[in-house]
Symmetry: D2
Subunit: 317 residues, 4 copies
């Protein structure tokens, strides 16, 4: 993209972002805040905030951009990257596959039905739990510390921390995730203790961020692993490529195909109503809108990204 294009984009965002956010905010009423984790159920459904960051760190923000929220499934992208950095592709892909599933994010059907019973990809819950078990560390605490530091490093924000209320809330209620984990254990996919692996998993899901943090993290992916601000490579390019491919094919739960069609960018959503996405080579984008549609994605957030993608012709295809 030329400077000219960037200037145009930036000016249009200046003039219209608030308007587009307001337009999208009308769609919050179509969704519902996630209730299966009690602590998440407290979020106000009509929140919508966004931050777009360019490669010099300039930002355009609108709406509730200071609202803090937990990463939830967005964390899966970065634990996948860390697991790849810790273990390499061969080990990682002996534990999880590369294919979209078409099933719900917490489905166990394919674990039972499809040999060899490994999760189809690292972005469904089963896959992300398997990935959590691969993070290096002599103890569970060390694994969690390494993940947190990695997230802080990517976000360039040493104050990122785990929201302990959300962590406990998840940990107390996540029977389905325990079920998944024991199934994986039975299939020989998990090496450690289920309780330890889940502590790692719930911890990285519970890291608290803002839209600006998300945009900052996305910016590194948008630049293939090189932080354009610090001008340093933080992640090997191949691992970013892997992460972005998964985000494109499976990042938005089983509405990933629809999102690819209508927005056309690699993205990952979380049940906190958050979405991390990026314009490759250019912008990092973070947003939050806790009211979710039936597939588990932020209703207003998906709508807003649809507007932006159309206005700026951002679809990869």
């Amino acid at each position: 993209m030329s400077h000219q294009q960037h200037d145009n984009t930036w000016r249009l965002l200046q003039d219209h972002l608030d308007e587009w956010v307001n337009l999208s905010k009308a769609h919050t009423s179509e969704g519902h805040v996630a209730s299966y984790i009690p602590e998440l159920a407290n979020a106000s459904p009509d929140i919508l905030g966004i931050c777009i960051m360019d490669s010099e760190g300039n930002t355009k923000v609108s709406g509730d951009s200071d609202f803090p929220f937990t990463l939830q499934s967005i964390s899966k992208v970065f634990t996948l990257i860390l697991a790849l950095m810790d273990n390499g592709e061969e080990i990682v892909f002996s534990k999880v596959g590369m294919e979209p599933t078409g099933d719900d994010f917490n489905s166990m059907l394919k674990l039972e039905l499809v040999e060899p019973g490994i999760p189809f990809n690292p972005l469904i819950n089963a896959g992300a739990i398997a990935i959590s078990s691969l993070i290096k560390g002599n103890t569970t605490d060390e694994q969690i510390d390494r993940i947190l530091h990695f997230f802080q490093h990517i976000a360039d924000n040493p104050s990122l921390s785990i929201n302990q209320h959300v962590f406990r809330s998840e940990s107390d209620t996540a029977h389905r995730n325990r079920s998944l984990a024991y199934f994986l254990k039975d299939n020989g996919v998990l090496d450690g203790e289920v309780d330890d692996v889940l502590r790692v998993y719930f911890s990285h899901c519970s890291v608290e961020v803002t839209c600006t943090d998300l945009a900052r993290m996305a910016l590194v992916l948008a630049h293939n692993g090189v932080d354009p601000i610090r001008k340093r490579r933080l992640i090997p390019r191949r691992f970013v490529q892997i992460a972005k491919t998964f985000m494109f094919t499976c990042g938005m739960y089983n509405a990933s195909g629809e999102f690819a069609m209508n927005v056309g960018l690699p993205a990952k959503s979380g049940v906190s109503g958050s979405i991390l996405t990026m314009v490759p080579g250019q912008y990092g984008i973070g947003l939050v809108g806790p009211a979710l549609n039936r597939k588990g994605n932020s209703t207003a957030g998906v709508h807003l990204l649809g507007i932006l993608s159309q206005e700026f012709d951002w679809s990869l295809f």
Copy 2:
């Protein structure tokens, strides 16, 4: 059945049971001892023993009839009965259904696919775990005690006890059962703590018996809940009816239909290679043959019951 018939049966058993056991023993080599519970894997594959008990407590035994083994899934029949006695039909059938599944005994497919996500019947693992949670008791230990005493009572054998080696072996390795239990917890089927419920479940699976104990327990079912020896009703008739119906339609895992066709008696098998069955109104039968066929039933045991059913025209149809 007339006395005449009984005398004939008894004489033929006297003359031929050893021969039929030997014939069936040849089929032990077609099966394999269960390996998923390490302690069970130690059983010798060529064992075969049987005990047939008439309504006066006379027995015909043959083969390794003294071999001790754990009840495993056979216990599910009696915990179902105790749960019915503790709670009544309405509560029990709000937690488990009445239908055969056609799936493996540890399958989770229907829990995910079929509303309302309760186990299809009390004899698959998911159902039996749900039933374990329904046994009355102020503590888990009290639940286990009540079950053990009930089993002792039915078997008229106060020395029945839990094989602690098998219990620990099951408890340490049963990841799939934990997965099932957490899935049930997530679906709202289990009230208590998963660890507690599984302790109850593994305990009753680990009660050690002999063929004679099985035959004695079966005799009570054969007489619709009245012990013909002690001449006392031990179980309300309706609950025996329920138990026997389930044994007929789902008692032999997903080979229940084939067994119904070829033997035609209510029966329940366990992965210890044990089978409890009965000739209604007449005999209680217990057998053990640890080598299992692909569906999880004793190869030699099924063969032997096929011979007996044909010789004595025991099929209900």
Copy 3:
């Protein structure tokens, strides 16, 4: 059963059958007439009729016992028997299994998921279509003639015939059955042409009968293949045994377990609202009540059989 018992039963039926039919009729409003075959949708939902026939051919009838209806799935029992008589057990059970499925009667899941891809049993649609293909005959017409004559022979009613309106209605609308048949063809289960096999299948489903015909046919099964009136063996005993076993485990669609629990007799239902059942060794029973419950069985009919089973302690267990 003693003569005394029979006399008592017969007297109670004389005195109370109308009352029980009326009681049950109240339940017709809970169900809905099958709509997927247009011709069936015309039946009046508040019809309920029953015929009970003893071994001398005496009958107790009540309600709309003259109402003519088509056999639908009840015919599957008799085509199974004819296929067994034509081919023997080995060939028949190379094409269909012996197990209940827990799935809907027209489900294709297990054909895709469970090797070797043959229908689980002959009473689900897939199985019954496979059975239709096994009926001997040089032409499709000859197959259909042989089936019709067999039905007439069992029912002792040479005027039984195919209702051509229903046949055409089924044939025109049964896309799901065509789908099943082509799946079977692909799995190598069907030898003939799909259109021919389905013509056989729809023909035997469309044979029109009354409750008295059903009771007469059931009487032959109740007496293990010997017609107690004509005093002739019409079916080898083993094949009746097979049929009754399937009726008990899979005869009432995926409510077979519940029916076994609450009525406890071998039975087969059809979407015309008909049920054929029997008291082994004694009575043949036919009924019709077109309003169906969610599982596809006559609501009022199931209710009425529940009353009868309880009053006369007819459950096999």
Copy 4:
């Protein structure tokens, strides 16, 4: 891409394409020629040919680039586009979804399990059959003619025609596709007669092409619907975007995720061993290598595209 880059690419292809083709040819022995359509089974397994076309129509070819083959599933991309041009997005996406499935290309599971029972996407068989039914035309012949002319138009080759041997071979043996089509009919997805729709479907699968034709067709997609040679828009850009998105997420059967990871280009494969892919904005690529891997894609072809993608850094991510 600059001219400089293009010149470099072209020179490297000049120097190395034969070598890469030979390297990849070694992998033909790992696969098997499709056998389920008899006419396809005749193809020689060690064939491998490729054509790469630039935006001026210059080509680099190597291997068996003249080998004629049928489009098979590749045709689905272009019937989807024609259906979109004929009906618009709204109608098309009322009949098929937008999501990858994770299941086999001919699976029926999700049609039965997931409401509302429409195919998950237009590139699995069920979806493509639904799409075939949407092609405008007063008669089936007219539908087929319109498709053939559209293919000829895109390929700029008026001599493209239907291979009647393959058409008949498919038509005679495709029981599974008939099963799928009747299931769709039952679910209300197909309007026309199944036989007619399948005639359309088998016809477009049987259009015979060479690698050069594929490359030519791909070139139009690579340029978002504008033919860079004829300098005319042939397809609205949005519909190309839709097609390419589906190719990226579901184009290589249930190995689409793996292909996206290792090659990273929108592509569509066919059981003839053919693959159509493109470098967006630049090249159209067609290849054929009939030996298929377990997932149904050309073993050698996938290998060759992996080399090219790595050498030229063609992955979109």
